[in-house]
Symmetry: C2
Subunit: 535 residues, 2 copies
């Protein structure tokens, strides 16, 4: 399959080059547009499931995005579909916590979210990259309004407890000063003929021209205080109107100070393919997607159904389950096929008769730890006092991230922000605490960056994914080695059972991984049904 | 005044340093927050006009933002206020063109905007930077919802008709490849000891570490095809879910290709202080601000009033005006003071008895040419075909800018984008054409970037600011020389007349310049009224 893709890709490129050379750029582009994203994206629109399923039935385990996409499409194609879901709600990790919601984690702690009306956090996914076409298409089908998610905010902070006396620095100043100092260094090296071996004379002239503009260098290619640098990093006194409105320039940081601060590690935060503009979010919370899917699947999803065993035979698959709220009474469901979207962290503990390679794969992939904490404050002080509208502050404190809401800007009244997004060891430590203690610590840490926390904090919720009873972790953490050994085995249809979910994708943690893995699985099952008549 | 500001700024900094050294970073930050933006921003909140105006009256010329801010505040402070406005609507350049609107430009061309309901363009200002605190405060007072304005979109294009066969390049690829190639050059120079004179050994180690991350270099500090570079610039085949989901890496452009394309000139588009994240826009169009102000000033603004003369004497100011729709019948208005916000391009043609320095200043400042063209299409092909959600494409074609709407993302149905934002000579050329011809040319140029234009175009509107009867240009273009000579003279209160507007600010073209100049002017007039009893 990969070989074919790769050949197709080359053919496409060769074709485009041919058209470009013979008919010009516009013609080439027209052809490119006609070819569409076929070779660029693994998502080629909802698969057209041609041919009748002839009464075939599919049992889907898990009403997260993967399970609901599969259920939605298979029903449309004429399959008999039922979904078993552990929770009392659909969505899985697609989930928005709002005021009035209750959440009980493993260990028995129950939290009652006390946010005011209209405020929320997304404990799971919270961003939709522009190229996650499958998910975006479902947002369109489900009529879910989207708005921009602000990732990089030049006025948010980069913070290190070990640099600048612990004083947070605006992203814009570190960004401008790192860029400017790099540009100056490279310009000097060019002027001193130190790049002659690598860069032609002609390119050196262009390089200098580009560095001046890109790095905000002065006419001597120096990065020094002046209108040009202030226009990037900010002013000591900003320009205004009327008399006494003349701006005062600010003083750039030296390369030594920027490098020593290690704050440059936050400068690429919006450069990764999943974090570039435009990032989007559903208006009202990511959970809007799961909620909308659930409405489309009313009567198809059985809630509070805890799967205890999965058994396949020649004729189909039988799944045993009990009421998730009180164990004891075991029920069963049966269908011709089973699409299992249960996270591997849970599935590895459920008896299931699949081949050894798939069973090994299921047991091999560890799950990432993550803790997210939402905090409500009496007022949106980050906007009112600090001119921060959305975006993210990064810190070396265990809380790692403070994310300001990308909605309701400039409104009076309360505000909810994401006070922490903990990873790795920090996440494990916080997972071990009670929710109240997590919130208390997060407020304490955060007040090092925003002293207003002390006055303005009202309440919070803390979700530690390793204590989420339905996932026992946040997402599958594949390594290259694990992929080589187990990925294809995990994704094969094993008799009458196939897996789907972010764990069965090259987009771990992303909803698009769940969506595209579900579409891939239903396409392959349907091919078997139509071809083999096994149903 | 400047000397005082500068001393204040130093004192503040010294104070913070003192607190930081003696009490730590958090304490320093707490003090900084308490000091607030006083020394950073020329806007320090709405001025408190203490003391009674004792019946004083103010005549305000122009119901743009400057005029309406002045009117709003002076009324609150107890002044008798009237506003004369040339147009049949308030707002001035704060203006949104919507379907059903009619606009007649100098020369007689009338355009009937045919956009569908809900679609619009802002012919004037269209972005609110996060630090334009005066304007943001009025948005809050006037209860105007804001949403993010997407400036930089990594998936929009940088386009040169002279590079890559005229094929537009995604911002992300040029950005990643320029960065990556710079980082590689600098890393090599460091490793070859060519920076030893400028960078210490210790800093060199940090520099290399930072360059690897920042430039997406591999373990040998090379910028080459691989998962790291694809994660910045995009993939030949994107990662997905299920089988056959493995991504294929893309091939970076060489430094030579990036430099030769000149596309690097678009890479700093979101780095300037007024263009950094977070940029905001009013939901429904920038005109929402002017419209809301006008509702607050109902009965205070006289519309269709064309000022023909301004005359001051010892006791007050008399302004002659006629109906802008049919000249002839001259009326007059009189008040103790006059705040004139009429653009200098118009004001220089109106008889007014002010001092020679102010008169010279009024005549000295040229106005920028600018043309904006809005186009309606049958569908949002930029989103559907090209995954572009908001943001800006830059091109060397005369149209300069294509800006995709930062709202209603991912919706089915029609869409309106800004098809051109012409400057300088290009703008003058387009100003000379009929509106229909401007639109036709813009569609023709734009189809070099988006071939879909040919199929999908429906209708358009074109505003050439030099033909706007109430401005005769877009904004005041100050040079340093003009500022030194004329700015303070322009901003002085001249007898009983004072000017306000973006032209009386260090923020030309920006609404914040109009707002802060108005606040400055009313503060100074009020001081005279209270102190001098001249009213």
């Amino acid at each position: 399959m990969q070989g074919e893709d790769s050949r197709l890709s080359m053919t496409r490129r060769d074709l485009l080059r041919l058209v470009g050379l013979s008919a010009g750029g516009a013609a080439m582009y027209a052809v490119m547009n006609r070819l569409g994203h076929a070779a660029e994206s693994p998502y080629q629109g909802t698969p057209v499931l041609q041919g009748t399923p002839r009464g075939a039935s599919v049992l889907i385990l898990g009403a997260g995005l993967a399970g609901m996409v599969a259920a939605y499409e298979l029903r449309q194609a004429g399959y008999k579909v039922q979904v078993l879901e552990y929770n009392h709600r659909a969505g899985g990790r697609n989930w928005t916590l709002r005021g009035g919601d209750t959440y009980t984690e493993l260990g028995g702690f129950t939290q009652h979210c006390q946010f005011d009306r209209g405020h929320y956090i997304n404990p799971g996914p919270w961003r939709i990259p522009y190229h996650h076409r499958g998910l975006l298409d479902y947002c369109k089908k489900l009529d879910i309004p989207l708005e921009p998610f602000v990732q990089v905010n030049h006025n948010a902070y980069l913070h290190s407890s070990k640099a600048f006396g612990g004083k947070p620095q605006r992203f814009r100043t570190v960004n401008a000063d790192y860029r400017g100092n790099l540009a100056e260094l490279l310009a000097k090296a060019t002027q001193q003929s130190k790049l002659d071996a690598q860069v032609s004379r002609e390119d050196q002239a262009l390089l200098l021209e580009s560095l001046r503009q890109w790095g905000a260098l002065d006419e001597k290619y120096a990065y020094v205080a002046g209108p040009g640098t202030s226009n990037r990093r900010g002013y000591d006194k900003e320009p205004g109107g009327g008399l006494s409105a003349k701006p005062l320039d600010s003083q750039p940081l030296s390369l030594h100070d920027v490098l020593g601060s290690h704050l440059w590690s936050g400068l690429s935060d919006g450069e990764g393919y999943e974090f570039q503009t435009s990032l989007l979010q559903p208006v009202g919370g990511m959970g809007r997607i799961g909620e909308a899917f659930a409405r489309k699947l009313e009567g198809v999803i059985r809630y509070n159904a805890k799967v205890t065993a999965i058994h396949q035979d020649q004729g189909g698959v039988t799944v045993s389950y009990e009421d998730a709220r009180r164990s004891g009474h075991v029920q069963s469901a049966r269908a011709d096929w089973c699409i299992c979207t249960i996270p591997l962290s849970i599935l590895s503990q459920i008896p299931m008769n699949v081949s050894a390679p798939m069973a090994e794969a299921i047991g091999a992939v560890p799950y990432a730890a993550s803790v997210k904490v939402g905090l409500q404050f009496k007022r949106r002080f980050w906007e009112e006092d600090e001119d921060i509208y959305g975006g993210i502050t990064l810190t070396d404190l265990p809380i790692n991230t403070i994310a300001y809401p990308s909605c309701d800007f400039n409104r009076p009244g309360k505000g909810v922000l994401l006070g922490a997004y903990l990873y790795g060891l920090d996440a494990y430590q916080f997972t071990a605490m009670s929710p109240e203690e997590r919130v208390r610590r997060v407020v304490e840490y955060g007040s090092q960056i925003h002293p207003q926390y002390r006055q303005e904090f009202e309440n919070g919720v803390a979700v530690a994914w390793h204590r989420a009873p339905y996932t026992l972790g946040c997402f599958a953490t594949w390594t290259d080695e694990l992929r080589d050994k187990h990925y294809d085995n995990l994704c094969q249809i094993d008799g009458r059972i196939a897996l789907a979910g972010e764990h069965a994708s090259y987009l771990p943690a992303w909803q698009e991984g769940a969506v595209t893995s579900a579409l891939d699985v239903i396409t392959r099952i349907h091919q078997r049904v139509v071809a083999g008549g096994t149903a």
